[in-house]
């Protein structure tokens, strides 16, 4: 089962590189923002899988904090671009 986790992490990192192409080449801010949000979602899963591979449940707390930071930063950027200020 550990080999399955290793293979899952490798496949997820390859998909992160696919999204990174859209971050670098995508026209305009909106494509870059949606690609960064997608990379953040994949990073959460990679953190949980790393916690299972090394048998350290501490990584779960890190992934929960990362999920909150990802959500709040995306909402803050969207609000700033929509209104002109974060207020």
């Amino acid at each position: 089962m550990i080999d399955i986790f290793h293979a899952s992490v490798i496949v997820l990192i390859l998909t992160v590189f696919l999204c990174l192409y859209r971050v670098l080449a995508g026209p305009g801010w909106e494509n870059r923002l949606i690609a960064v949000n997608t990379i953040g979602t994949k990073t959460i899963v990679v953190l949980v899988l790393i916690g299972f591979i090394y048998e350290r449940p501490l990584f779960l707390d890190i992934s929960i904090a990362y999920a909150m930071i990802n959500f709040i930063s995306t909402l803050a950027i969207a609000k700033y671009l929509g209104r002109g200020c974060i207020c």
Partner: protein, 102 residues
């Protein structure tokens, strides 16, 4: 038995993740890219983490993972909808048939 079920869930979740990433590259427009990634990533992430819950069994780690799944099922479509709403407000044109890829 439970390990086999967890393996099936993880493989289906990986399939959805890969399909979402390919859609992010291949689709011609911003709105179609949002359509690809906003749903595929949420479902794929939920299925991978639910497979890990089945592998772990019921303890504190499984409860934390279930809380993470519920949190992401609420917040990920919300964030995607916020980006989409701002893009529509600022005037990003939808792609029509016959246009070139953007």
């Amino acid at each position: 038995m439970l390990n086999t079920l967890a393996l099936i869930f993880i493989v289906i979740g990986l399939f959805f993740m890969v399909v979402g990433a390919i859609g992010l590259i291949r689709f011609p427009d911003f709105y179609t890219r949002v359509h690809a990634t906003g749903k595929c990533d949420t479902l794929g992430e939920g299925m991978i983490l639910f497979g890990l819950v089945l592998y772990e069994g019921m303890n504190l780690v499984a409860v934390k993972i279930l809380l993470l799944v519920i949190f992401i099922f609420i917040t990920s479509p919300t964030a995607v909808h916020a980006i989409l709403n701002v893009a529509y407000t600022r005037g990003v044109e939808p792609w029509k048939k016959g246009d070139e890829r953007r």
